[in-house]
Symmetry: C2
Amino acid sequence: MVRNRPRAVTLRPIGVVHSPFRVREDVDPRRNSRPGGFSDVRGEIEIDPAYAAGLKDITGLSHLIVIFAFHKSGAGHLLVKPPFETRRRGVFSTRSPHRPNPIGMTVVRLLGRRRNILKISGVDMLDGTPVLDIKPYTSRDSKRGVKRGWMRGSRLNR
Amino acid sequence: MVRNRPRAVTLRPIGVVHSPFRVREDVDPRRNSRPGGFSDVRGEIEIDPAYAAGLKDITGLSHLIVIFAFHKSGAGHLLVKPPFETRRRGVFSTRSPHRPNPIGMTVVRLLGRRRNILKISGVDMLDGTPVLDIKPYTSRDSKRGVKRGWMRGSRLNR
C-alpha cells in the first residue's frame, strides 16, 4: 500500500522549444523516414530571461537532458497502442505522450549558446513545447547492455 | 522573447521510492565511498495500485528512466555550489536538487516486478521520493562521445 500519498507537484515552464515540427503527426515515427531518426533535427530552446543565469557553465557540455511537457497530448491512459504495434502496451513500458503525467524526456546535443538561446540537435519535440528542466547528460546516464523487452522486434527507438 | 508564456503543469505522483537512504546527507556524493557509485544500491518503486495496469509489458526491459520529485530540496536557485566545487555553477549545468522545478531523473536497472512493486538497482533517491513517471530506456538514450564540460576535472558523476 502506498503510505502517505504524496501531494501534487506544480511546475512552471522555464522556456520553450523552437522546432520544425508543428503538429503531432510531424513527430510520428511512422512518418519519419530520416535514416538517423531525429538525431539530425535542429532547433532551439529559448530560456525565459528570468532563468537565463542558470545557463552559466553549460557551454562545453555535449549533451543535455531536456524534460518537457507533452502540451498537445490527450488524456493519460494506462494502456496505449504504440506506433507499428497492434497490441496495447502498458504506458510505463512506452514513450507515449498520453501518460498519466504528460512529461517527456529527450537527450539532445548542445551545439551552442547565444544569451538565453540554446542551439540543439536531436529535436523530436513540437514547436512551442514547454521546457520544465535542463540537466547535463553524464556518463552515468549512458548505459550499456540495454535490453529492449517488448520493443525488441519493433521498428521503434532503434 | 518567450511568446505565449505557457501555463503551469500540475503532476500527481504515481508511486513512491523505497530506498536505504533516509536523509539528504545519505546521497551526498562526498559521503559515498562505494566504488560503483550508486549502481549497486537496491530499492523498490511501489506504484499506486490505481496506476499498476500501466506496468504491463515492463518485464524484459533492462533499464528504466525514473522521473521523480526532489521532495526534500529547498528553494530553487539559479547558481549552485556542487559537491567538491568551490565555485558556483549554473543550475542547468548541474544535477543539483535545488532547481527551479524540483524534478530529478535517474536511470535504474529493473531487477523484477511483483504486482505493483518494481525491484530496481542504481538507486540514488531518498526513501519516500514521489515518482512522477517511468519510461523505458532505449538505445536512443545511450549516447557516446559525451563531453562533460566543467565537470571534466570534477570527481562528480564518473
